[in-house]
Symmetry: C2
Subunit: 198 residues, 2 copies
DNA sequence: GTCTATATTGCGATAGAC
DNA sequence: GTCTATCGCAATATAGAC
């Protein structure tokens, strides 16, 4: 690992735990084991480091999106319930991945005061809904799901799961019964499929 | 208005716009028109000021919760759709109220690094779901709503609306088509009622 | 690429006069 | 309750030797 990568990693941990503004370059360098002046050989400023984290997070999100072709294949091979339950498992898995969950925390904390973070959240939300809507559309075309506006169905299902997902992450942080949120996610999924699956 | 109230108001504006840590007592006092030393005649520390904001926010949330008796009356007088649509209007109204929306922003930003903020969010989420579940239970008892586990139905509906509500606030902040989220909220409400209202 | 040393600014908080 | 003055410290960032 290069020094730049270690800076990135340690900064992410500290930003996630204490927030960007409350974390000093001194804190980060102390964790890395270098002097503050060395920091500037790797990042132009503290702000550029935050931007690098945002960019890395956004790229990770974009790379996870399923293509139209992949969705076409999956909606043929699996039932609606199988596909949604599998989606839930992947979604919740974020909170078992330290780097991914730290990035979520940092972006979530910054979203109201940093427009880059804000737009990452807005775009991710929109992308998630549109991919779900397209999935529902494919299931409907294949006669595996009841008819109805795919976008509204996606809004109902996907936004509900999104809230529960955020709840899970927050509760996990404070050791406040996150498993209840995971159970609710599965129950919502079952309820939804019982009503719309064919 | 007392000086203490003006400090509270100006601090809330600055915390919401720039975050708690990035806002200095100097910034606040400059807005209020007093010297920093005078600040300490009203609040023991910057942290105590933040606590006061949290407490005020939590009290406002608690005071808005409808009692069992009120819910019993409302579920008799109104249809499911009327009641949910009215709930949406009140919910979205938060973003038209500067103080309320500023408090939401501050608590949202702090939720991952300040346990008081974190527990306010966790509790608010739980309270909202439980009140909705009880409302559905009453509608079911009165034969105005299809049977089904009220808690799971509340999770599906209320968490979906919650996400859309947060989306609205964030999009409004960045002038990024918030009305689309409001339309989605109404569509989700209609879809839900079309399926579960009797 | 790392270090020592330093510049400059801003921070939260306090003492004590009025 | 407000002010002036100040303390002690930590912040980001830079210069220049090795």
């Amino acid at each position: 690992m290069t020094t730049k990568e270690i800076i990135f990693e340690k900064a992410l941990i500290l930003f996630a735990a204490n927030g960007y503004t409350a974390t000093s370059i001194r804190n980060i360098c102390s964790e890395v084991g270098i002097k503050e002046s060395s920091f500037y050989n790797h990042y132009k400023s503290k702000d550029m480091l935050l931007d690098a984290i945002f960019e890395s997070f956004n790229n990770a999100l974009l790379s996870k999106a399923l293509s139209d072709e992949q969705l076409d294949l999956l909606t043929t091979q699996f039932t609606l319930k199988e596909m949604l339950l599998n989606g839930l498992k992947q979604y919740i898995g974020i909170w078992e991945n330290p780097t991914a969950s730290q990035m979520w925390f940092v972006v979530s904390m910054e979203q109201y005061r940093n427009s880059k973070a804000g737009h990452i959240v807005i775009d991710e939300s929109k992308r998630r809904i549109l991919r779900t809507a397209y999935t529902f559309e494919l299931f409907q075309k294949k006669g595996k799901m009841k008819q109805g506006d795919p976008l509204t169905l996606a809004n109902l299902y996907s936004f509900s799961i999104r809230s529960l997902h955020l709840d899970y992450g927050l509760k996990k942080l404070y050791n406040n019964d996150p498993e209840q949120s995971w159970k609710s996610m599965q129950e919502v999924c079952n309820l939804f499929c019982n009503h719309w699956e064919l």
